[in-house]
């Protein structure tokens, strides 16, 4: 039996305690963020942000509402990343988590290309970069604990359990309140099924979920491996350089902005 998590957007209040609990358990550093006019931050998942709540202001039959979504690795039943990985650094465990082994990975980043959700992140700013993503708290699961985000959720929007049981619960919730939910458990069938399952009051495409078929995404790893590795190496080098320059510029403009604020703060 495989574990899963059911996320119910009707129960989530967007408090983002899950984001903090994830960073705490995984000892991830805070990102330097700015408010860009939304209540959402950091702007996207990264090597130091494995999960985040996405905020949507949605309209449903003339009823306007705030709808939240939790983003993290979906831990697919048939993960494209694991299929794409030439060295089996990414593997689907029978317990549910798609786990990653630093010692095997050699940095090809095919997993990034293969993932239909754009989840695996590369540590561009490290000299020895690895792929980073939600671990499904495999280390906690092994000790009989639920994932850190589920543990901290104050409203029960996150529910951890056997994936099969969660699908039953999700169906019951939809049946009990058909006016509150769209009749769709995202993750039940998408790309062959996901360990993370979603309930929503509005269609999932409005929340930014990709519309996917029920067939697992497969990538022929060997064919991909044969394709011009020197180009890949060069691209990687260039992209790392570009990334570092952008980072430096952002930091400098941040400092300038802060200095400006200091002067204007008491006007």
């Amino acid at each position: 039996m495989s574990k899963g998590v059911l996320y119910d957007a009707n129960k989530c209040i967007g408090c983002r305690a899950c984001q903090v609990a994830c960073k705490q358990w995984n000892q991830l550093p805070a990102e330097a963020t700015t408010n860009t006019g939304t209540l959402e931050n950091p702007p996207k998942l990264s090597a130091s942000t494995f999960t985040k709540i996405h905020f949507t202001e949605a309209e449903d039959n003339g009823k306007f509402q705030f709808v939240f979504t939790k983003l993290q690795c979906m831990h697919c039943e048939h993960p494209a990343c694991a299929t794409a990985c030439p060295v089996a650094a990414l593997q689907k465990t029978k317990e549910g988590p798609v786990i990653y082994d630093d010692n095997r990975c050699f940095g090809c980043r095919y997993c990034q290309v293969a993932c239909p959700f754009g989840i695996p992140n590369f540590e561009w700013d490290k000299p020895m970069p690895w792929i980073r993503k939600c671990t499904f708290c495999a280390d906690r699961l092994g000790g009989g604990l639920e994932p850190a985000c589920v543990k901290t959720c104050p409203t029960g929007a996150l529910e951890f359990g056997e994936r099969d049981d969660l699908i039953v619960i999700a169906k019951e919730r939809i049946a009990a309140s058909p006016d509150k939910y769209v009749d769709h458990i995202y993750g039940e069938k998408e790309v062959g099924g996901l360990s993370w399952l979603y309930l929503s009051p509005v269609p999932f495409e409005e929340l930014g979920f990709p519309t996917l078929g029920t067939e697992p995404v497969t990538v022929n790893a060997e064919r991909a491996m044969g394709a011009v590795p020197p180009v890949l190496v060069a691209v990687a080098a260039i992209m790392t350089g570009v990334y570092l320059v952008i980072q430096r510029r952002q930091k400098m403009s941040q400092t300038k902005e802060n200095d400006k604020n200091k002067v204007e703060v008491t006007k």
Binding site: V20, A32, N35, F64
Partner: protein, 557 residues
């Protein structure tokens, strides 16, 4: 805050209270105040405040020990007495500082430079003090007011003392919640550096004060010399918890309940409402961690988790939840219910153990609101200064020129500050501002703006507005904007959202601006304080600040 009371809701004495008797008569906390209502099923009022003499005497015995005797009215005249014409609340205190009436200020775990209304006025007021002591777990805006942006530190004469204190996980003690539970917390880690629990700081200061005044023969030194302060060099929260509960001085044992307190000086209690929280048999009940709901109908009281004042009664005035026969109005969630067979109340601790009105003897049919002299709840609020019936008033700054509900526009009894408290007019400030919090930051932000994980979530000061207002002012989502009032301007990021909608009032379109207030010039994440905008206006009865509505305008920065 709570400047009107001593511990246990005993009123603060005023200058004209010559003795305890006069004090109790004036405050209505006297057996003579009992009113027996006519024409009701209930024919008796317990007027529990008629017991107040026992509570004030026990409090004075706790504070002044052997010095407090029947002959000297238990040192009642050691208590500070207030002038009823002066407002002693937060707003009143800032005004008094501005008028030079207050020379020194102790600030414990508060941040008035950000948290109170009209921050510019509050910061200027701090500069009029001779000295300021700030005790906090982080450096805050109040402690750093003298070097805030835009001022010259050499022009500020206030001497500032900063005492680093332990946070709640670095000390033992109780925490009270708004459900009246007192929950005991243990120390998890040692405080960093020189930080100390505030209790220990207070102990050291008091010991020093006693030393300084020991040889002073002036009458004003007596309350310090006679103060019963016997904790030794290292005070413990446990010792204070016992003292707050109180002792029977004839036996030396902890008093079991406030029913055992006496007015003859043979009992002590630091707060009569906390009697019963510590007992000889059960120890410190605040530390209880019972996870079984012992209520017969399991309504979720969990009465064996921590302790709740008074007497572990989880829901006060609970005799109002039953009918005249003691049967619950809400049968699905009975708080208490009367078991006629055994003539006993079941469930929560009843508010007075008397039988239900229909089953009680004539003359002992007690009404449920035991703290009121008439035993009843009040729709007619005759002790409210602008009562007795509720009225709707426009705020001090309003976009309307009249009150649409009645003939009087503003509350005639509201407290209006006099210092740096300019009033805006709607032609210059047509929008209505309101302040509120976000989930990720706490109060003035001192405990959260220094935590990188929370700063990452909400890094910058922001304001929220409708798409319509943003379009009118040419503001795009994420633009830097300036929100201005007659009292000051702030810079913030604009969050433009359909969650804000223009209001149509009296045929006029009125735009609202939502202002967060957690930011300041100290700590890791800095930003302008929302309270720069709010006025120094207080509610007529409590002087709670009018944070929620003021006139403002917004433009692109």
């Amino acid at each position: 805050m709570l400047a009107h009371i001593l511990p246990g809701y005993l009123n603060i004495p005023v200058e004209s209270d010559a003795d305890i008797e006069a004090y109790l008569k004036r405050t209505g906390k006297h057996p003579d105040a009992t009113i027996i209502p006519q024409g009701l099923a209930g024919d008796s009022s317990s007027n529990w405040w008629g017991n107040a003499r026992k509570y004030i005497v026990s409090l004075l015995k706790a504070w002044y020990g052997n010095a407090a005797t029947g002959d000297n009215d238990f040192c009642f005249n050691y208590l500070p007495k207030v002038d009823p014409k002066i407002n002693y609340t937060h707003i009143g205190m800032i005004e008094a500082m501005n008028h030079g009436k207050i020379k020194g200020l102790w600030v414990w775990g508060q941040n008035p430079a950000v948290g109170g209304p009209n921050s510019n006025g509050a910061r200027a007021a701090l500069g009029k003090l001779d000295w300021l002591m700030v005790a906090d777990i982080w450096m805050n805006e109040t402690a750093e007011f003298w070097k805030r942006p835009g001022v010259n530190p050499s022009e500020i004469k206030t001497e500032v003392f900063i005492l680093p204190v332990a946070c709640s996980y670095e000390k033992e003690g109780s925490i009270s919640n708004s459900g009246r539970w007192a929950q005991w917390r243990y120390k998890a880690v040692e405080p960093p550096g020189e930080a100390m629990p505030d209790l220990e700081i207070m102990n050291l200061v008091m010991l020093k004060l006693k030393e300084l005044y020991a040889a002073d023969s002036r009458p004003q030194a007596k309350p310090i010399i006679d103060l019963n302060w016997n904790y030794g060099e290292h005070i413990t929260a446990d010792a204070v918890a016992r003292e707050v509960n109180g002792y029977d001085l004839t036996t030396g044992k902890l008093v079991a309940s406030f029913a055992a307190l006496k007015d003859d000086g043979t009992t002590t209690s630091g707060n009569w409402l906390y009697c019963n929280q510590y007992s000889e048999e059960e120890g410190n009940k605040c530390a209880r961690r019972g996870t079984v709901d012992s209520h017969p109908r399991q309504i979720g009281l969990y009465s064996n988790w921590s302790w709740c004042w008074p007497l572990n009664r989880r829901i006060i005035y609970n005799r109002a939840s039953v009918d005249l026969d003691g049967m619950p109005w809400d049968n699905d969630h009975p708080v208490i219910l009367y078991n006629t067979a055994v003539k006993k109340w079941e469930g929560d601790v009843p508010d007075g153990g008397w039988p239900p009105i229909n089953q009680a003897e004539k003359g002992a049919k007690y009404l449920p609101f035991i703290m009121k002299p008439e035993g009843l709840s009040r729709l007619w609020g005759y002790d409210l200064v602008e009562g007795p019936v509720p009225e709707v008033y426009e705020p001090w700054e309003s976009p309307l020129d009249r009150n649409l509900m009645s003939g009087t526009k503003n509350n005639p009894c509201a407290f209006i500050g006099a210092f740096m408290n300019e009033q805006g007019e709607p032609d210059q400030y047509p929008c209505v501002g309101t302040t509120y919090r976000c989930t990720e930051h706490w109060q003035t932000g001192i405990m959260t703006r220094n935590l990188p994980w929370l700063v990452e979530l909400v890094p910058d000061m922001y304001v929220e507005m409708s798409e319509e207002l943003a379009a009118e002012r040419g503001i795009e989502r994420g633009d830097k904007v300036i929100v201005s009032t007659a009292r000051g301007d702030i810079k913030a990021v604009a969050v433009v959202t359909r969650r804000f909608q223009p209001l149509i009032v009296d045929g006029k379109t009125i735009h609202q601006i939502g202002v967060l207030w957690h930011w300041g010039y100290s700590g890791m994440a800095k930003g302008d304080s929302g309270n720069i905008l709010t006025p120094h206006v207080g509610d007529a009865n409590t002087t709670i600040p009018e944070y929620k509505t003021f006139l403002c305008n917004v433009r692109r920065a």
